[in-house]
Symmetry: C2
Amino acid sequence: MSIRARKGGLARGVAVVGGGLSKLGLFKDRDCKDFFAEAFLEMLDSVDRGVDPGDIEAAYLGNYSNDFFTGQAHWGPIISDLIGLVPKPVTRTEGACAASTLAFREGVMSIASGMYDIVLVGGVEQMSRRTTDEVTQGLGMAGSPYEVAAGFTFPAVFGATATAYFAKYGVDREILFNVTIKSHNNAPFNPKAQFPMSVRDFMNARMEKCRAKGLPIPEWEDEKAFLRDTSVNPPVAWPMHLFDCCPISDGGSCLLLVAEELAGSFTDAPIFVAGIGQGTSYSLHAKKDLTSYEATVYAAKQAYQMAGMTPKDIQFSEVHDCFSMAEIIHLEDLGFFPPGEGWRATAEGLTALDGPMPINTSGGLKAKGHPVGATGTAQILEVWLQLRGMAGGRQVKKPDLRIGASHNLGGTGGTCTFTILERR
Amino acid sequence: MSIRARKGGLARGVAVVGGGLSKLGLFKDRDCKDFFAEAFLEMLDSVDRGVDPGDIEAAYLGNYSNDFFTGQAHWGPIISDLIGLVPKPVTRTEGACAASTLAFREGVMSIASGMYDIVLVGGVEQMSRRTTDEVTQGLGMAGSPYEVAAGFTFPAVFGATATAYFAKYGVDREILFNVTIKSHNNAPFNPKAQFPMSVRDFMNARMEKCRAKGLPIPEWEDEKAFLRDTSVNPPVAWPMHLFDCCPISDGGSCLLLVAEELAGSFTDAPIFVAGIGQGTSYSLHAKKDLTSYEATVYAAKQAYQMAGMTPKDIQFSEVHDCFSMAEIIHLEDLGFFPPGEGWRATAEGLTALDGPMPINTSGGLKAKGHPVGATGTAQILEVWLQLRGMAGGRQVKKPDLRIGASHNLGGTGGTCTFTILERR
């Protein structure tokens, strides 16, 4: 009866034909207009046959809470003015750290609906103007009201999740080191990364610092020994230590979406939207199992159905690694590995850049940075770059790279999305 | 080439088949979950043939800044849990006081795209937990960053707009009284209104209070004399006085949207979405003319084109009257009356309930209340009730009432929407 039933998906296809990302880091002397402008200009340059900014009909902007972080709300018209879009609409979406994949999804549906042909989607956040304690408080507002009242800041929630996983599968904190080391190995190849350094680079830098100061030089036999040392990797909320937690970041990102039948006007290498899933979760106290996110499972199922694909079809993925533990659970919830096997797959190198299932080639939130409202479209940008063979030193070197995905989580799992892109 | 070019609008029609609104007012001892639950339960009752809440596939929630007002962000999953939607998605939209018409518009496009068939849209806000000064500051965050820094709070912006209008058209503050008196005349017939009183009711109540206290009884010859008296109607930001400004409110609202071809399963009297327009404006300092909102003009043009209608087709409308002056300007920007004639039309009673173009039959934001994130879908609900002949004592009594509209403004005009509904 419905179009969905008849066609099994969107009424009209959508392609990604451009994208941009600002350098990520802490930039107190700049603001969100600067970050978004930087991403927007890079997006314009990225469109093979060019795009006249005047042809953009509407935009969607993900932002978690510039209200809290910067004291300025209602960023739609600010961004509209910035990029010359007035009087066309800019709609802000918010789903905590998944804010800009909600923007992406609304942009896709706005084109599929027939309303628009050419739509900009992106996100922006500035977190550097607040102290670390304030940022923790501000992010805590995105958890369930029952969690924060009980002392569950984000590091605490993911710490509790980790202990539940450890207990369920008989593993310990050592499994988390593999996630951190793997993601940081990719970051030196990402010029936008906040920390373009491997864990070994951190280790060597620390040794060099001791040497320069004439202090005793620590003897770490490898990166794991470095991460075990609480003098360099102190606990935040056990078992989450410093190197298990993504940083506080500023940044902006955007993507240009066009109706499928127009894609050829912009490029010979469009990347198509194959699946867009989104779900919600209960809060911590009402979850049946801490070691799985129902929102991720639901979002993944919706996206796979829409794409007519299974997890086996996905050749690489960005996965929301706000904390190292989160990445392992998502690997399982997305169906890339069976329950209880995400940690082992990581330990065996299966998720490394040269492994069979590369995860977070960008460096992930841990090493690339996590400007929360900008993260979702930044993740999708990484997939787009990989599918176009433009990822430089971190390029996935599989033959016939055609299908990649991106998973984004908001709050303590309250909002999750899964996006599948395809090169045909 | 595009669907839009071929079909002149959405790829698939959408109908409104239910709606609900909480009682508006200040309720410090309740919270947004209560308000939304109240609206949601009323919506369930309003669907003629009923709806199984489990059939709702997704929701959109407008909210301006519960981050600021209540210290809790990321309301999507909270509302999802409240109404039993988990793990299905709830997407928050924000466009200041237009937040929930953005939710409405995204809901419409999500169905038109083929992604969903049955979608809930609504909004919520709790402003009562903050002091009046804090609310003024919180709303100020929705203005342009250049405005607030220059001292332009919202009353000040609309005050400056009024003086510009007065200067351009040779009128004075007296024209504003007509807006206030007209809207308050409708409010006693709206059981949800925060102030279900006419201006004459306020006047009589004041006289009664003086009488009861043995004080001299003021002699006001009519409502205008009452509004001229600064002891009862003090200035807020000249020429905006107390009775020119909408109140601070709490509340929730929602509407049930379904694909056109499914509407008959829910009701014999569906109301169809004919046009949905949305635009953005420059900030105050960059506007060519203070007496017009480019975002409103753009949104109206888009909605009229989509509907294949002109302003003459609209039989009544809700219009965003955050301040009395705003209503007059919108009457002109929406094409209901020529530029410079909005004040005269109001003075002549053309916008009264029994006039040729009833405006704000609900009592408007001034008398009904303005829980900012809930306002947009509350306005559209009023149009739906009118088109179904369910507006009680405030029912528009035109023969063949078929087409109504709703205009919603966010910030100081940064985001505006215009929605046209139609009974076929």
